[in-house]
């Protein structure tokens, strides 16, 4: 990427310069598409949320069911994200620092949840923990609720956000190599000292990148959570499910008000992501060929 920036700009190189009418066409078509299909939905969320005025907007956010939904969403993310961070770091360490049989298979399996429909991600936990599921009778006998309760929501969220941290860290740590970690060990550091003082500082931006993407998906997940939640207002409704309920009750302004919080979360996520991208284009080493 650095190479691209040091080159003569495209505009000054006759052979690779698009004629002005091509440039106008490319930007005209591309940006129109961008505005209609990406920007307009984003704007629509906020305009529809404020359509009935600020009073209705804030009333929709402080109403007890909305507050419960916000609390549940934060709770679920605060469990799912840290677990996936620990897993992501462990997986990246094992995959990039050691050679073992079945490594490629392991990497493929880490990506599995991305290729599974969110609806199926919910279904699998119903099959395991639901009333007719493997552990259903045992759970019922011991009065433990997983499906249509918070634990099921947490599990489904962990599943859909499973690969985010690992797949961000694996290419990064692969590219960095183990030289600095080996140096730390040679100089007498213990394993954990090496991890906290060398590995973690080296991967901090990539890790943060994975964490914010993981968090955005954890807070915004709809399909998987919808299957296992049971939609009990004030109890098992996360923010996206609350949006759906309000919308289906034709409380459009309220639905968009709660949706606008999620849209803000998305914008903050993109802002942090872009910031990290700018920071690391200079620092990140070119991948080893």
């Amino acid at each position: 990427m650095t190479a691209a920036r040091n080159r003569t700009p495209f505009e000054q190189r006759a052979a690779t310069r698009d004629p002005p009418w091509i440039k106008a066409l490319v930007l005209g078509v591309g940006l129109s598409f961008f505005v209609v299909f990406l920007l307009l939905p984003l704007i629509a969320v906020f305009v529809e949320a404020l359509r009935r005025g600020l009073d209705v907007y804030f009333a929709a956010l402080v109403e007890p069911d909305a507050q419960a939904a916000i609390r549940l969403t934060l709770l679920v993310a605060s469990i799912a994200v840290p677990l996936n961070v620990v897993f992501g770091i462990a997986a990246a360490w094992a995959v990039t620092r050691f050679r073992f049989r079945g490594k490629q298979l392991l990497v493929t399996m880490i990506d599995l949840p991305f290729s599974v429909s969110p609806v199926i991600a919910g279904l699998i936990y119903v099959l395991v923990f639901g009333a007719q599921g493997w552990f259903g009778p045992w759970l019922q006998a011991n009065d433990i609720k997983v499906i249509f309760a918070v634990p099921g929501i947490v599990l489904a969220t962990i599943f859909v956000t499973f690969p985010f941290v690992a797949r961000e860290l694996i290419p990064l740590m692969e590219a960095q190599g183990a030289d600095e970690e080996e140096a730390a060990l040679v100089l007498g550091a213990s394993g954990w000292q090496m991890f906290w003082r060398v590995t973690l500082p080296n991967i901090k931006w990539g890790l943060l990148y994975g964490v914010i993407l993981c968090n955005a998906r954890a807070m915004g997940e709809f399909g998987a959570v919808s299957v296992v939640s049971g939609h009990v207002r004030g109890q098992t409704n996360t923010m996206p499910l609350h949006v759906e309920i309000l919308y289906n009750e034709y409380q459009f302004a309220a639905a968009f008000a709660v949706a606008s919080l999620l849209a803000l979360l998305a914008l903050v996520t993109l802002a942090i992501k872009t910031f990290i991208g700018w920071r690391t284009t200079d620092e990140r080493p070119e991948p080893n060929p």
Partner: protein
Amino acid sequence: MRRTTPRVLPGFGLSLGITVVYLTLIVLIPLSAVFLKTSGLTFERFWALTTSPRVLASYRLTFGASLLAALIDVVFGLILAWGLVRHSFPLKRLVDALIDLPFALPTAVAGIALTAIYAKNGWLGQYLEPLGLKIAFGPPGVVVALMFIGLPFVVRTVQPVLEDLELELEEAAATLGASRWQIVRSVVLPTLFPAILTGFTLAFARAVGEYGSVIFIAGNIPMVSEITPLLIITRLEQYDYVGATAIATVMLVISFALLLAINGLQAWTARRTGRLAT
């Protein structure tokens, strides 16, 4: 690539142990439940559950709309990536950052926003419906939602390859007398082709499983605008666990095939462009 020798670095047992146990508990065992439940069915029963007219209609819609959406995304994603890499324009960094919006915006939010735009009295719907273009509450709405979801996959796979493209190749072609169009057709596009195909497959794979953004805008009429993931939920709500699981098996097998295809394509892209697949 130079690899470190095992045993020098600590934590192999711990890190691999955490990885395998967590992967098995969260992903592998629950996923295997789908196949185990399906394996209890006779083949005739499985066939009947997964090929009834309503299910077949949902496959046609899901795969047809996903295919169309991914194709449209390829065309416009390519144009957007070209604009972002090869041209400068005001607010370019903002546009670049917002391309990822569909990755970050919760699908339910996208769903209700798109419905507000394309419904009969919506922002654009009120102008489109008099022209006979009914988008929301029918199959076209499904395509629009899937286009939204898939666009960043195409842009983000094509963009880095386009950035790393050797300008010298294009210049060489130009000195040999090729026209600009010839250069784009026979030098640029063939180099981009693996990335384009990867982006297309990623967008398609994501679209096939998509649920949240579609159900608000689709109208969800059985046989007409009901996607397969919704049909799975409908079966579940009727306590038809066997029916839901049988359809889920079909979807899972297709998803896994797509995952393998994507892995292969990414390896191909990496070989063609000399980059690491990320």
